[in-house]
């Protein structure tokens, strides 16, 4: 966030500011709303996870199915996040450093996964790669499982999280312009040197935030993955799907134990953003508002 104008930072004249009573009332309502809708559920996750003591909490996490789910989630994120990061960098470079026809169309295409329901995203891949889909019979004949297997989970997750890094970089690189890069090229740097020594230092923090957000979403995706995974316990269950299985089995403490790991991940993500906003305000400003 930017600093407010000097006028609001200093004490504003009374005709221009709200009366104290209004100010306190509005602030109280806002805080109450925030507490009720965001803070209370978050507290409940940790309270429920630890309600039966630490031993049960750790037992739930050491369960073989839980470990398998954690491993699958980590593997998926380890494939998806680097892919979408490279894509985000390439897309942002091509969109912000060059003029070409159909640029706004390309931006809309990149935004598309944000607009599509995760369930529909999963459905699209089932319809194409599923047993009765376009490539289904061919894949089955060659013993290449996609749906109800890791490739399907990776595909669906990549689709859902595709815009995150690009979306964080494009507005920032647009405001930074091309002068620095053009200067470096004129002075004899090659493309790779220019990218590494000039562009990358300018976008490090926005890139980091995009990656962290993409990672949180990749590890937490539920709708798309639940369609393509087939819910095979210990094999194709990711952490969110394992939470669902436990919750529907009335194993609430275990469900919240796994959920608390994902909640911690979300809080770490926010913490990183908080840190970046404080110490690297200039870089993030352009990227807000999405």
């Amino acid at each position: 966030m930017q600093y407010p104008s000097a006028r609001t930072a200093n004490k504003p004249p009374s005709a221009l500011s709200d009366p104290p009573l209004v100010r306190y009332l509005l602030t109280t309502i806002a805080i109450l709303f925030l507490f009720l809708i965001l803070v209370l559920p978050l507290i409940l996750v940790f309270a429920s996870a630890l309600s039966q003591g630490f031993s049960l909490f750790f037992a739930a996490l050491r369960d073989p199915d839980a470990l398998a789910a954690i491993r699958l989630t980590l593997i998926t994120a380890a494939i998806v996040v680097p892919l979408n990061t490279i894509f985000g960098l390439a897309a942002a470079w091509t969109i912000t450093k060059f003029n070409f026809r159909g640029k706004s169309l390309l931006i809309t295409l990149i935004d598309l996964p944000f607009a599509i329901s995760p369930v529909v995203a999963g459905l699209i891949f089932v319809v194409i790669f599923g047993a009765r889909g376009i490539f289904g019979p061919w894949l089955q004949a060659h013993n290449l499982p996609v749906i109800f297997a890791l490739p399907g989970i990776v595909l669906a997750t990549t689709f859902v999280t595709l815009p995150f890094v690009a979306r964080e970089l494009i507005p920032l690189m647009q405001t930074q312009g091309r002068d620095d890069e053009e200067c470096a090229i004129t002075l004899g740097a090659n493309g790779w040197q220019t990218f590494r020594r000039v562009t990358l230092p300018n976008i490090t923090w926005a890139l980091l935030y995009g990656v962290v957000l993409c990672n949180a979403r990749a590890m937490g995706e539920f709708g798309a993955v639940s369609i393509v995974s087939g819910h095979i316990r210990g094999v194709t269950n990711t952490m969110p799907l394992h939470i669902e299985v436990l919750y529907n089995d009335y194993q609430f403490t275990a469900a919240f134990a796994v959920a608390s790991l994902l909640a911690l991940l979300a809080m770490a993500t926010l913490l990183i953003k908080f840190f970046i906003e404080h110490y690297h305000r200039r870089q993030i400003n352009a990227g807000t508002g999405d």
Partner: protein, 279 residues
């Protein structure tokens, strides 16, 4: 001709490589699957498509529930998200930074986690449910719970859209209104509110678009009773579990068309509001 323009524009190298990679990646992951999907649904006859996607009471009930609860949640978010943005931008109080950072939580918190947390809070024996259910207020396993879950996930969209608009607001306008004798209330409703209306509308649309497709959090709290608390994405899942691919694809097609329409609206709104801001 072509080589001349290429030379003129591209001092910076890497155009062919990055554009090629971007197009291939987005094409393979987005365009090709979408094209395949539409190709398959196009094999339906019109009559079959309409009877599966539209003329079915259970499907109609699901659309109605999805769209109305998304609209109500987006409206709640427009009011409270606008209020939060106002409070964060205009007032100074302890914990403001923390509250502001917390607004992004729904971006990072998996929907399955918020889903089971909300359900447990409002279940008949939950922290809040034990007080609300005796009063006759059913949140979990009722439409109210769906609205609550959709409000949670849509909140940051409104706050993060309205905040920049409030920051852009020039103090001179309010000073002019005050010096011309307007009360604070008049200044707010005649000067400030019209200036941030485009941002509020954009925020509403973004929150609505996100809510219409949401599945994870709603799945847990809705109770999923046919005709009553079944949202459209859930119906797709049910059809797939019954191996009714054409039925699932038909509903998915309608949802996709709605998504495209919303994306176009959002693009239009954003150009409109940025134009208004520069004027």
């Amino acid at each position: 001709m072509k080589s001349r323009t290429v030379k003129q524009q591209h001092v910076i190298p890497g155009f062919g490589l990055t554009l090629g990679f971007t197009l291939t990646y987005a094409g393979l992951l987005i365009l090709l699957p979408l094209a395949g999907f539409f190709h398959l649904t196009a094999q339906n006859t019109w009559q079959g498509f309409i009877s599966k996607a539209i003329l079915n009471p259970r499907v109609i009930a699901a659309y109605r529930l999805s769209f109305t609860s998304a609209a109500v949640a987006a409206a709640i978010n427009t009011i409270f998200g606008g209020l939060l943005a106002w409070v964060f931008v205009r007032y100074r109080f302890p914990g403001r930074r923390l509250g502001d950072a917390l607004v992004d939580l729904p971006f990072a918190l998996p929907t399955a986690v918020s889903g089971i947390a909300l359900t447990t809070l409002y279940a008949p024996k939950g922290w809040l449910g034990q007080w609300l259910v005796p009063l006759g207020v059913r949140v979990a396993y009722a439409p109210l719970g769906i609205i609550l879950a959709l409000t949670l996930i849509g909140l940051p969209f409104v706050v993060r859209t309205v905040q920049p608009a409030l920051l852009d607001l020039e103090g001179e306008l309010e000073e002019a209104a005050a010096s011309l004798g307007a009360s604070r209330g008049q200044t707010f409703f005649r000067v400030i509110l019209p200036a941030i209306t485009p941002a509020l509308i954009s925020g509403f649309t973004l929150a609505f678009a996100r809510a219409v497709g949401e599945f994870g959090s709603v799945y847990f709290i809705a109770g999923n009773m046919p005709m009553r608390t079944e949202i459209a994405p859930l119906l797709i899942l049910i059809k797939l579990e019954q191996y009714d691919y054409p039925g699932a694809a038909a509903i998915g097609t309608i949802m996709l068309l709605v998504s495209f329409l919303l994306l176009l609206t959002i693009n239009f709104l954003q150009t409109w509001s940025s134009k208004r801001r520069t004027n």
